[in-house]
């Protein structure tokens, strides 16, 4: 469990990190290291150089902007986010995803930026970002910034819209959802600390009668990128949610899934469970939006 030899750089600014990333061919950015170092120790990855982002100041924060958006620095730890009252009250789906992410040791080191840039199809946060309509901010040399909607950020397994060797993720921006909104994150795994077999993030806003104005239902672990169950969202749109409607939406939203099989679960099982989790997540998100359930 020893990695192959590599060079190590510890820049103190985003600009220096980006310069190194451009100069050092095949270099990898090191954030919390919770995925990267494990892969290196197993020698599944052997990057010639690591660029450690931990000494760059100003990338660890959660703050509310004037316009109701919440901005999160890319190097903010899972644990800091899990403890944040702002996240817990505004985005319960995200709080639940963080609470159920790995174990405390992982949460003490892992970062939101590291997780999103790594784009593991089973990671907790990517579906939540898509469900919340997050905006991801990429930095380039010379202070240039580019904002990428979460919908467009995750391209494939371990592949993002970040331009290789030129861009790094520096910030996550979460939009305000109107009053009468609610969301949840649900995950099914054999052990609590595991990557999910199936996970669902659901977020919605409802009108005074409980009719769904807008909803987002996004699954993880069932495809190579977060899977937005638009067919489910369409079923919900304009309706009051009850058990039957949630079941109908779940059926529609998971009909076209072709999830992978692996040692933990078959494609069949993932699809069965996806249906169940989507149904349950819709019901809870709706109840939260209505303010009838915490």
């Amino acid at each position: 469990m020893r990695p192959a030899p590599f060079e190590y750089y510890a820049p103190t600014s985003v600009e220096d990190a980006l310069r190194l990333l451009e100069e050092k061919e095949g270099a990898k950015l090191l954030a919390g290291g919770q995925s990267l170092l494990a892969l290196m120790k197993l020698r599944l990855l052997a990057p010639p150089a690591l660029i450690d982002l931990n000494r760059i100041g100003g990338l660890r924060y959660v703050r509310e902007d004037g316009n109701g958006w919440i901005s999160i620095g890319a190097m903010t730890l899972y644990d800091e986010l899990e403890q944040s009252p702002l996240i817990r009250t505004r985005y319960p789906a995200m709080h639940e995803a963080l609470y159920r992410l790995g174990d405390q040791q992982v949460r003490n080191r892992g970062t939101i930026g590291g997780s999103l840039a790594h784009a593991d199809p089973s990671a907790n946060l990517p579906p939540v970002m898509v469900a919340l309509k997050a905006q991801l901010v990429a930095a380039r040399r010379g202070g240039e910034r580019r904002t990428i909607p979460a919908d467009e950020f995750f391209l494939d397994a371990f592949t993002t819209a970040l331009e290789p060797d030129r861009e790094m993720l520096v910030e996550v921006r979460l939009p305000p959802w109107p009053p009468g909104s609610g969301g949840t994150y649900m995950k099914l795994s054999k052990r609590e600390i595991d990557f999910s077999i199936v996970e669902v993030a659901a977020q919605m806003s409802v009108d005074g009668d409980g009719r769904v104005k807008e909803s987002r239902v996004v699954l993880g672990s069932v495809a190579t990128r977060p899977y937005r169950a638009t067919a489910a969202e369409n079923v919900l749109s304009g309706s009051v949610v009850d058990d039957a409607l949630a079941a109908k939406a779940a059926e529609a939203g998971t009909k076209d899934l072709e999830p992978p099989s692996d040692v933990q679960a078959s494609s069949w099982y993932r699809k069965e469970v996806a249906k169940v989790l989507v149904k349950r997540a819709i019901l809870r998100a709706w109840k939260r939006a209505r303010g009838v359930e915490q």
Partner: protein, 812 residues
């Protein structure tokens, strides 16, 4: 199948008159824990020696392949590399590892590094020793092996079919051994029984997953010509002959040392391959060589349990009486017979379980496959056999419309039949097993849960209740290996101990065992304190085993739940002898009338005149220094060595013998709820009742029960190895091999009944393994939940997908 004869009972009966019962049974703080909880344990990786070099291995990516060539040139150019050996290099330096199997399996050639071909994924192909572990791993990753993949066999039944790929060409078959047992008139019972119930069961493949992986530091001291091997082997004396032969050094020159061991669970019985390799390399380099397994290496290639498939028939009466069992079993022992096929005899002979079953037949095959070699994992062989019998009990109960607790009650061995002799000559020592079952059912509110199960079912909730009984046969009689290989010169099951009162009046104890977290320092100290009637804090038990200072036999070690029945018996005997000597010296020193002296509370006084007294410290000083004050002619010093020998015998021509000294008893009652939509099980209630004879320390006993439950739960719901048809192991790290965490293990209510064993001087029985009872209990509960849907579980592992398929009535 009846109460044992008085002659046999008297042979086994032990004298326990030296016990004072002042220190036994107390929840004294474990002596080991103070260092362990502070991170001050002494593990192999803590051994740091000057000029130490580090080993790493290149391992086979194939399950079965011919080695056409190995090119080490790239690896050799890595800076810091000191030595690279392939199988061919090893062949020049040592003989193949000895085989305990009968012919023709005995023809298998087993080297710690593959020669000519690889036989399982992860098999070591080359060893690198370098200045650092990094350099060693860099070099190992640059060893170029030219493999020619061969057809693979991963299924025990297919392995015996004609034309199956041969794991060992020189054996000519994949059969390791075949044993046929037949005790009692099986045919008669099957002809005359009211009915026959059948089942096929599979006990799956998993491992013990200890916190500390296999590790060794071999240190050859050229000046003293002594090889010191710091290891974490559970029974190092069993392997000293191999080390001695491989190194061409006599036993007094090979020092094998264990200290703290971070769990073993049986997996560390077979790590001698690394002991041999590190020792040979240390002798070659004249430097200490360290090797510590990675987790992947441990999960992939250290030791798995033998998978077992059984076809079982039971001859049953309408009233639920089980008359006889007939079965055919196959063990998948993997690529080498390094510990197995021992499982063919351990408990195979008492697979009648805890029941008054009159006759038993077992046609038993052990088979080579292209998988990791197997060994005895916690609950070894008892667990799979008790799994079969407990699964059968549930099936029979359902067929008869009986409650599963009731059918067990009806068949349990009765207290009036104790000590009880099984059809195979097994001698169950003591216990009131029906009483234990009643107590556990009551504590678990079994009837209440049955009512609740019905109620909740009407609300669409799925509840299952498992009730199983099990046993830890403990303190094995090694002569049982003669059942598959009559030529093996290895019989009985003994253990040694030294108890010395040092000149300062303190007590030093060494053990023959190599504990891996079982608290031997604690329980040995309690027995010594109890017998000598001195303070627990004055007893110092040496950590681990040292072949230069410990008293040993060739059975010495920690496996088979043997410490309480054998190890503590040796400790008792040594302490009792020391007490006699202390009494003689004290009586002389105090000049007690009639020589009648009492040793009590660290003091000695004349029974007739308690004013005439002395503390034992003075006696100790006399015994070592002021020797002229001792009784004339008495040998100075206060050393006491004992080796406990149970009255074991070899199996007779019908393979009848008692193969364990004590038989602990346990009852587990577990309630599970299953999510009807996902198949996910959740434990709602867990009650474990244990009768392990006299409890030496309840903290230690309860800890073992907790561990055994966690382990069983892990096997039933979380831990299972998955091999594909090409012999690739698909889960060889902790991301995919799901060892449960504290979040998965439920709160466990532990209850006790305490029936001292008449066959050990302390009355204690072995109990650490738990007999796999938790596996059976959890599977029984899951099956109980699924029973209304007609669902039956064939395997000892039920993951949510298996459960959901049954709920949905779909096959995989």
């Amino acid at each position: 199948m009846s109460k044992a004869s008085p002659e046999i009972i008297s042979t086994y009966k032990q004298d326990s008159s030296a016990l004072t019962l002042k220190w036994l049974g107390k929840p004294l703080k474990p002596k080991e824990d103070y260092r362990l909880v502070r991170g001050r344990g002494m593990f192999v990786d803590d051994v740091q020696l000057p000029r130490m070099a580090y080993a790493a291995f290149a391992r086979s990516p194939y399950a079965h392949a011919k080695i056409k060539g190995i090119d080490v040139s790239r690896a050799a150019s890595v800076p810091g590399v000191l030595l690279i050996w392939t199988g061919e290099d090893l062949k020049k330096r040592m003989r193949p590892l000895p085989q305990a199997t009968p012919p023709p399996a005995r023809n298998a050639i087993d080297y710690p590094l593959a020669v000519d071909k690889v036989r399982f994924q992860g098999e070591p192909v080359a060893m690198v020793v370098a200045e650092s572990r990094y350099a060693a791993e860099d070099a190992a990753s640059q060893i170029d092996v030219d493999y020619e993949p061969l057809p693979v066999v991963v299924d025990a039944e297919k392995a015996l079919e004609p034309g199956a790929p041969l794991v060992h060409d020189e054996v000519g078959t994949n059969l390791i051994a075949h044993v046929h047992y037949k005790w009692g008139d099986v045919d008669y019972y099957f002809q005359h029984a009211d009915m026959v119930v059948e089942g096929k069961f599979h006990y799956h493949r998993f491992t013990g997953a200890p916190l500390e992986p296999n590790a060794v530091v071999a240190d050859y001291d050229e000046r003293a010509d002594i090889m010191t091997v710091y290891c974490n082997n559970q029974a190092p004396m069993e392997w000293l002959p191999q080390l001695s032969a491989g190194l061409n050094m006599p036993y007094p020159k090979v020092r094998v040392v264990t200290r703290d061991i971070g769990g073993g669970f049986g997996t560390k019985l077979v790590n001698y391959v690394y002991m041999v390799l590190a020792s040979l390399a240390s002798k070659e380099l004249r430097r200490p060589v360290k090797y510590v397994e990675t987790r992947t290496e441990n999960l992939q290639a250290a030791a798995h349990n033998a998978e077992r498939t059984c076809y079982v028939s039971a001859a049953v009466q309408r009233d639920g009486t089980v008359l006889a069992i007939r079965m055919k079993c196959l063990d998948d022992d993997g690529a080498y017979a390094r510990h197995e096929p021992a499982g063919m005899t351990v408990w195979a002979q008492v697979s009648t379980g805890m029941y008054r079953i009159r006759a038993l037949e077992n046609d038993f095959y052990a088979v080579f496959t292209n998988k990791c070699p197997s060994t005895s994992i916690r609950g070894f062989s008892r667990a799979p056999h008790l799994f079969m019998i407990e699964r059968m009990m549930d099936r029979i109960a359902r067929k008869l419309g009986m409650d599963p607790a009731e059918i067990r009650m009806r068949n349990l061995v009765r207290p009036e039949d104790m000590p009880y002799m099984t059809p195979s000559g097994g001698l169950y020592d003591s216990g009131n097993w029906p009483e234990g079952l009643r107590k556990a059912l009551e504590a678990a509110d079994y009837q209440g849960w049955r009512r609740k199960q019905e109620e909740l079912r009407r609300q669409g909730r799925i509840i299952g209740i498992g009730v199983v009984v099990g046993s830890d046969s403990a303190g094995p009689n090694m002569a049982q290996v003669k059942m598959y290989n009559p030529g093996l010169p290895y019989t009985s099951g003994t253990e040694g101990a030294l108890v010395q009162m040092t000149p300062d009046g303190k007590v030093r104890v060494t053990l023959g065992t190599s504990p891996q977290g079982m608290g031997h320092e604690t329980t040995a100290a309690q027995v010594v304190a109890d017998v000598l009637d001195v303070d627990y804090d004055d007893i110092y038990v040496q950590t681990g085993f040292d072949s230069f200072t410990s008293v040993y036999t060739m059975h010495s070690g920690t496996y088979g739940s043997r410490f309480a029945p054998l190890g503590l018996s040796a400790v008792y005997l040594a302490a009792a002898r020391l007490k006699e000597k202390l009494a003689k010296i004290s009586a002389y020193v105090l000049n007690c009338p009639g020589g009648d002296v009492v040793i009590e509370g660290g003091k000695a006084y004349c029974r007739a005149d308690p004013q005439r007294s002395t503390d034992l410290k003075r006696i100790a000083r006399i015994a070592y220094g002021n020797v002229n004050e001792m009784p004339p002619g008495m040998e100075p010093g206060l050393y006491s060595i004992a080796i406990f020998r149970p009255p074991f015998q070899n199996p007779d021509e019908n393979k009848r013998a008692n193969l364990a000294l004590t038989y602990s008893y346990n009852v587990h009652v577990v309630v599970v709820e299953i999510d009807p939509e996902t198949g996910m099980p959740r434990i709602l209630n867990y009650v474990a009742l244990e009768d392990s004879g006299r409890i030496v320390n309840p903290l230690v006993v309860d800890g073992q029960v907790h561990g055994a439950v966690a382990h069983g739960l892990a096997e039933a719901l979380y831990e299972k190895y998955h091999y594909d048809e090409n012999g690739n192991l698909l889960n060889s790290n902790f991301v995919d091999y799901l060892a449960p965490t504290a979040l998965e293990v439920p709160s466990i209510s532990v209850l006790h009944t305490e029936t001292p064993s008449p066959f050990t001087p302390t009355g204690a029985k072995g109990m650490g393994e738990g007999g796999g009872t938790a596996v059976q209990a959890v599977i029984s509960a899951v099956e109980d939940a699924l029973a209304p849907l007609g669902g039956e579980l064939e395997e000892s592992h039920a993951d949510p997908e298996v459960i959901l398929r049954i709920l949905k009535g779909t096959s995989s």
